[in-house]
């Protein structure tokens, strides 16, 4: 199945892009996607990361479905 992954701010700088699509096996969790991305971009591990699934804050334990939109970002700093 295919998962859309979005990066913002610091994580976009590390990944070198703002959006990627990753192919994952079924019953994958967000944490599985994280592990794959951290292998590719080790600098991600130096930040405290947060995640959202389909525009809702997520814990990372959720089982993903084909077409899900996952975002990975550092603690927000708007205002």
């Amino acid at each position: 199945m295919r998962i859309q992954v979005l990066f913002f701010g610091a994580t976009a700088d590390i990944a070198g892009k703002r959006r990627i699509a990753v192919e994952m096996a079924t019953k994958t969790t967000a944490k599985d996607v994280f592990e794959k991305l951290i292998t590719e971009h080790p600098q991600l591990a130096s930040h405290k990361l947060h995640t959202s699934l389909n525009q809702q804050y997520a814990t990372g334990d959720e089982i993903l479905s084909d077409g899900d939109e996952l975002a990975i970002f550092t603690a927000v700093s708007g205002g």
Binding site: S52, Q55, A71, A75, V76, G78
Partner: protein, 141 residues
């Protein structure tokens, strides 16, 4: 009427403040958040804000709903700017209209605190000698 928006254009504070005014209210509290030049002695040249737009709008709507459930207020307007902002330019406006001012002050304070904690917007500080994405210190739940 409540509203929550992202814009790359300069924000007109008065327009935001007047849009929330209904006939049964007597006070509107408006926060004008703008770009600070000096933070802990270090000089900022300008800021860049980036938003996860679809999620930011959802989170802003949730904040307004929660504030209206908790405080005796009528209407809330939130407008956050993204893109490049110069020193002194307004980055966020929150206007809260209420029958009486105390609830509006309390709700406005709660809204900006929660916005900074939960709404997915990030700021990059650009200094004379470098730049960095700011990581908030509060944790979303």
């Amino acid at each position: 009427m409540d509203f929550f928006e992202l814009t790359t254009d300069p924000i007109d504070i008065t327009t935001v403040a007047r849009r929330v005014v209904p006939p049964e209210c007597g006070a509107t509290v408006t926060l004008d958040g703008y770009v600070r030049q000096f933070t802990k002695g270090r000089e900022t040249l300008y800021l860049e804000y980036e938003a996860y737009e679809r999620m930011a709008l959802k989170e802003m709507q949730k904040l307004i709903e929660a504030a209206k459930a908790e405080y005796e207020i009528a209407n809330v307007g939130i407008v956050h700017r993204t893109g490049k902002l110069e020193i002194g330019e307004t980055s966020v406006v929150i206007s809260v209209a209420a029958p009486h001012r105390k609830a509006a002050f309390n709700a406005c304070e709660w809204l900006i605190k929660e916005l900074k904690r939960t709404v997915p917007i990030w700021k990059k500080e650009v200094y004379a000698d470098g730049e960095e994405w700011i990581e908030g210190d509060a944790q979303p739940t």
